[in-house]
Symmetry: D2
Subunit: 468 residues, 4 copies
């Protein structure tokens, strides 16, 4: 019996994943040098604070991506790098180490050598061109072969005489609304064989993290926005089959709250928003999204607020620029993401990070809030302010209870300076005679108060506290 | 100036088209012999009553259609017959006369030689395989060349150096939910060039009628069910450009009543129902659909109740069988289709028609109701009965007015024998002292009445009258 | 047998009704003097051009309407004038002649004495207060009594011992979203008795026209926007029962195109828009609405573009003002309403009309387009222009055909001066060698042309022509 | 400062409430004797197991409820018992002790004397008749007066000279789709004054629990199903103002998952289903509903599966009958409700409970699962079976960990006998060498196993275990 089935996918990510993703800076144009450069930076400056994933985002398999940017983000019917089994490979022009069938293994090895983890983006499904060319599916890859031997009754389809091919797997009516590369995979055993062949390859490369796109919300079909739910299950099964701990991240959002159970059962993280960028309206809106999902953060299960658009961004989109977020907004974003328990994926060219931004990313006291044992709870949300707490206490907290932790964050969502306050009793603190002592996590100061916690906040600013 | 622009598409079909369509008997498997056999029958037995179109329905371009019927009606990623410009051609195995690039011309010539007209079914869009193979678009076909010469300012795209190809035309996010052959065409000038190349080919073959599918209701996208409206406009324009009178029929239904104006402006007929078959519930339901569309029948503009599933049906679907409609239901169907003004397309193997069914199709008095000058009007519809009139009078009709015509039909929609009646005044007849004289169109008898028109009707039966 | 059942509701309004309505100027505050003043003006200045209805709009039954305008248009739970049978009566303070139970009879008599017709606005349903007070329904009014005698089997409910009362009729779950006065009436025989009692009263007053509100689109319930369809049928039946020709107008819009058949069968006019005011965006939008409904104009059946907000408006709303429409927009509105075949209801204090506006309303050549025999057809609608025709010809028109009429209107919908043109062939004119002669209906000039009809138009302006 | 604001509504119900509700047996007809009889039974037989609430359900204020049952469940415009301030009072005929203005105080005193708690059902809003009669609102009740004195700046409306009355409070466009008694209350300060007057009265009676109806899902308005959200807030505020711990229960369902945060913030329990009855399909369906809400059970916050239709039911509906649930189904229901953490409200005439049913309700081991510290989690749901766990462990459980508890329940949802099993590792148990020991909660036996927990289950049966 396969020992691995005893390992829960929740063990792959006991804390919300932290890392870097190539998209916000490179769009479709990331290459090997960029990934190595950013990985090296992470190892040197960020690793000790918990940052560990290095993720190559969309179209690493495309030839000449970005060459028709004025018309297309993704060139329709463009050339893709494929192996003989219809599986996408890194574009060898951009990833020279992948040549000769090595795939992402050399790059993953490098990342691992730095003590980091390696992730890739994929589109759900199978390349359209593979289906039209009737490319064979790697039916007898080692994993599938082994499983068939161990488990002949597993119900996998007998290999048709002509062999299984991509046309048997692809669903011609399931396409993505914004990327032209793939067909969805039908809900048949043949599809599982294909996904197994995919994960078998990725495991052989050493992939630790997969961000699968067009799957969390298949927005071409608004009347059935979770139409690829069977593909989520197939991916989850293929991860268990492949024998390598692989975090599964689903994109794009917004995820569907009524499918929370499904995401939690099969994936590690799922996007609760469409692409997030450095725009205050999107950040302000995130408070509502976090409100919606606040009860759905648990070990191995993370609603995902999307990448952190910090530092220098946008080169791959045609214009390199600094983030539009003010310093206050950056802190507000970090505070909300951490207290809520979202994964943290940096969207920035790391090597261009300025010192102040670096302090934002290396505040251990703030990052410590990212623990699913602390259950986030929004106490208040208005047009003008928000108040959140997070705690591992199940009832009231006594100030001298050393076994419980309480975080409180105050947010000024208005465009004016504003005093934001909250009675400590509302936060679940049992008041006593003496004053309470709190640590201000950003200012790294101590403060004392009796009944009310309050702060004078600049527009869009926040304050975050831990009860000592 | 192009003389053809003076010819209205409404002139192509001054009466609702009548003909035969291969689908109900042959599904995807129709061949040349079958078309010729049915055409010959039509010329001999039906032509004099107005039947004239012979239409080859879906997938005449597919190799081995129907060979995986237990799994697919349309084989995904199956082989299609294409010319070098990415245009579909008849499967030469089934249509031997089409070999050597002749296309449907020999068959169309044969049909024309019988005094009939020739029609084909197409799926909207461009073959997917043409896009993936980057096949060139027949940019400089004679029609396009001529138009460019006459009208250099027409706004057609300058031929890119590499030439225009199918990948420039296909919209990778626009597919059909039930047939895997095509991509939709984007709303760009390039798309018009492609459609022009298509109609130019069809005109050269001698095609008189095009039934375009997945266009009247693009039901994969229920939130935008008329998502291919620009392709309707492109087809309409291509018909005007090609210089040949070509009736444009849109499928499948249900058409969208809020788009009635668009259908009326660009097409000749549009399906108001999903596929209609020989099932009483569908027939009964058609009374509501005709009610919805009764004001939208006019010269050259016909809401389409779909094929008449009569006689022998179904061989291509795997089981040859007689229609399930009773004799009464067949008359009810003919009466409603004719009075309402729907096109009449026979879905039957004509050579197997029995004599009684033939009488149904050759009742000139009934067929005469099919004239858009007679405006159909439902007076009543209940669970149990329906009453319709059609007339060319704008106000009341005097019994002795020789310039106006009035038809009245009574329908028993219940499952019991039933007396159905209507006051003549309600039909718009100005009552006078004497009795009125009416002709019973099915029984070919005369009857007289004063105020009330009534009939004793068997279950699902009807009676139809013309005021003399 | 009741002779009246032979009279069709379509005979009550063989042309789209023309008249005046108190709403745009008076809101809820119209009174007897105002109605008489406007009626007198109409008789003197407008009657000869076809204007005939004088309509008292909403809440003529309310005490102190408009007295809390800063908070409410319709005062919730305000006092209403009722008779002992729960039927609303004119507020005697505002309508002194109605005192003593006379109701609107004296006022209607006055309007009739001027050769005009009298109309009232009602809300669908029964006064809420009548239901809560269990007021009796006028079960044995003359009309009901007579019908019961003549037709004992008619199925009317035996009068319960305690008598029928408003609580038996009112549907407590059917209310209006914007007016608090009424409950809807349930789909029961009791409801018909109530509506009969209502129409019997109105007929005794001499009412010629009823505008019933909250019925064409019951917008509090967007998921079943025609939830009061049974009340439309009840009203229609009550009109037939009451023995007086009474035009039935349904409000508010937008009417539902999929219910066109129902409106056409039971009513004379129905609003295709929410309240229309003097705002160019609303006027421009009307071209789409008319496009949607163009096939549904016929004798006695009129899609209604709503009142004409001309001249002096708004006093009852708190601020008297001149229409915001430019002169060009006013002509555009008149042209579209007339060519399309909408009813024309003036929303203006007539006694304050200026001379130029008067010429707009008394252009017989323009008003002559309002004949349902001329079928309106939009040829083109873009962001920038529109072209409409109307004709009684069923096919092409020969220029020398004296039996057919053709109207063409060209509209500049852009904000710039613009030349708008249309080929005459597109309008259905068979071209001949000589030039065609047309009359410009607004400029009252003749012009000649060969193939193209064109006009240089100021922003928002139009030109309208009749083929001679 | 008001000391009460420091008390959280979550403290009012630290465990999911347990009790009895009159509806399933009495419909609208419950009376004082019935409530006392059932309370006495509960005190004697059930109290020691945690059952404590005695709730009088709908229309305790109505005269002659149920007297027109063949036509109405709730008689439209029927007579209601009101005080002079428009507040509903118990019908004195059915509740004699309430006479003379005593209200429910005597009955609540009796219930309290038994050591139990007293609850009432209310419809959201204000009696319609109070608005139509302009009854005054109890503006200067003690609570409001005190708060105004303490807090003059609170923003409460200055009492208009004529006094505040029900017509100022009622929203005439907000009604219930199935009960005719009330108008919703508008989102104005006046509404809060009304709700304060209501809760002030209820607190004076000694009410401990309010089930408010037509508020959790205002299903007359499916496009805005939480249209009364402001009334939930007003009720919550009024409870805080009134100074008495009062559990707030919202009805009917289904509650909206996207509003989970709002329910959790303002209420104690909310119905996740429409009315639940003794029908297997509804019970089976509840597994999906619990799946949807499983992350939303916490201290003071309970998704509510509705009453338990056990024992003898239905007399008030016209036919007394035994529950339709089989014994297996009853156990399945109890197991799911308890493990999930739903409130438990008996819908049965308690005095007619048979012994076996009583054992179902007094199994302390099963009832102990009802603790929000045990987080429910569905591991599997198919057409045929379900597996649930509940635990207070945050990660894996070691079998010898004495600080954590794990429950596992296996359900056979099929109509056949079935073996249902689950690997213990999947339940979060860290496997060790020895066997694990579990207690079967229904059979009260111990069992040992190593890796797999399994049970042979009759149709619709279940097994529930606690890890020792």
């Amino acid at each position: 019996m396969d020992i691995l089935t005893n390992r829960s996918k929740n063990d792959f990510a006991p804390l919300p994943p932290m890392g870097w993703n190539s998209y916000d800076y490179y769009d479709t144009t990331v290459d090997e040098a960029a990934l190595m450069r950013n990985a090296a930076y992470m190892a040197e400056h960020l690793k000790e604070y918990g940052w560990e994933y290095v993720v190559a985002d969309i179209q690493w398999y495309a030839h000449d991506p970005g060459s028709q940017r004025e018309r297309f983000q993704y060139i329709p019917f463009g050339e893709l790098e494929l192996d003989e089994w219809g599986r996408l490979l890194p574009d060898p022009k951009r990833f020279p180490s992948s040549a000769g069938g090595a795939g992402f293994k050399p790059l993953a090895d490098y990342v691992h050598s730095l003590g980091l983890k390696f992730g890739i983006h994929i589109m759900r499904g199978i390349p359209r061109i593979a289906a039209h060319l009737h490319l064979p599916v790697a039916y007898d890859n080692p994993v599938t072969r082994e499983r068939l031997a161990a488990c002949p009754e597993a119900g996998f389809p007998p290999c048709p005489e002509r062999g299984l091919n991509a046309a048997d797997v692809a669903d011609p009516a399931s396409v993505c609304g914004w990327n032209p590369d793939m067909y969805g995979v039908g809900a048949l055993a043949e599809g599982q064989v294909y996904y197994d062949s995919l994960l078998s390859l990725y495991a052989s490369w050493g992939v630790d993290f997969i961000k699968c796109d067009d799957i969390c919300n298949t927005n071409l079909y608004p009347h059935r926005p979770y139409s690829a739910r069977h593909e989520v299950e197939m991916l989850s099964r293929a991860i268990r089959h492949c024998g390598r701990d692989t975090v599964l991240s689903l994109s794009p959002g917004p995820a569907l709250i009524e499918e929370a159970w499904h995401y939690e059962t099969y994936a590690n993280m799922w996007r609760i928003t469409d692409d997030f960028w450095d725009d205050w309206r999107l950040l302000k809106d995130m408070f509502k999204r976090c409100q919606l999902w606040q009860s759905h953060v648990s070990r191995g299960c993370y609603p995902d607020c999307d990448m952190l658009p910090l530092g220098v961004l946008g080169k791959g989109f045609g214009r390199e620029r600094n983030t539009n977020f003010t310093w206050e907004e950056q802190r507000t974003m970090m505070t909300l993401w951490c207290l809520f328990g979202s994964p943290l994926m940096l969207g920035a060219e790391l090597t261009k990070l300025d010192k102040r931004t670096l302090t934002l990313l290396t505040n251990s006291a703030v990052l410590a809030m990212r623990d699913p044992r602390f259950r986030p709870r929004q106490l208040r949300l208005t047009e003008f302010e928000a108040v959140w707490t997070a705690s591992d206490a199940s009832g009231e907290i006594c100030p001298d209870d050393k076994n419980s932790t309480l975080y409180v964050a105050l947010f000024n969502l208005s465009d004016e300076k504003r005093r934001v306050s909250v009675p400590l009793a509302e936060c679940g603190v049992r008041l006593s005679h003496g004053a309470l002592c709190l640590r201000d996590l950003w200012e790294d100061t101590l403060l004392q108060t009796r009944e009310l916690l309050q702060a004078e906040l600049a527009p869009h600013a926040c304050a975050a506290y831990r009860l000592l």
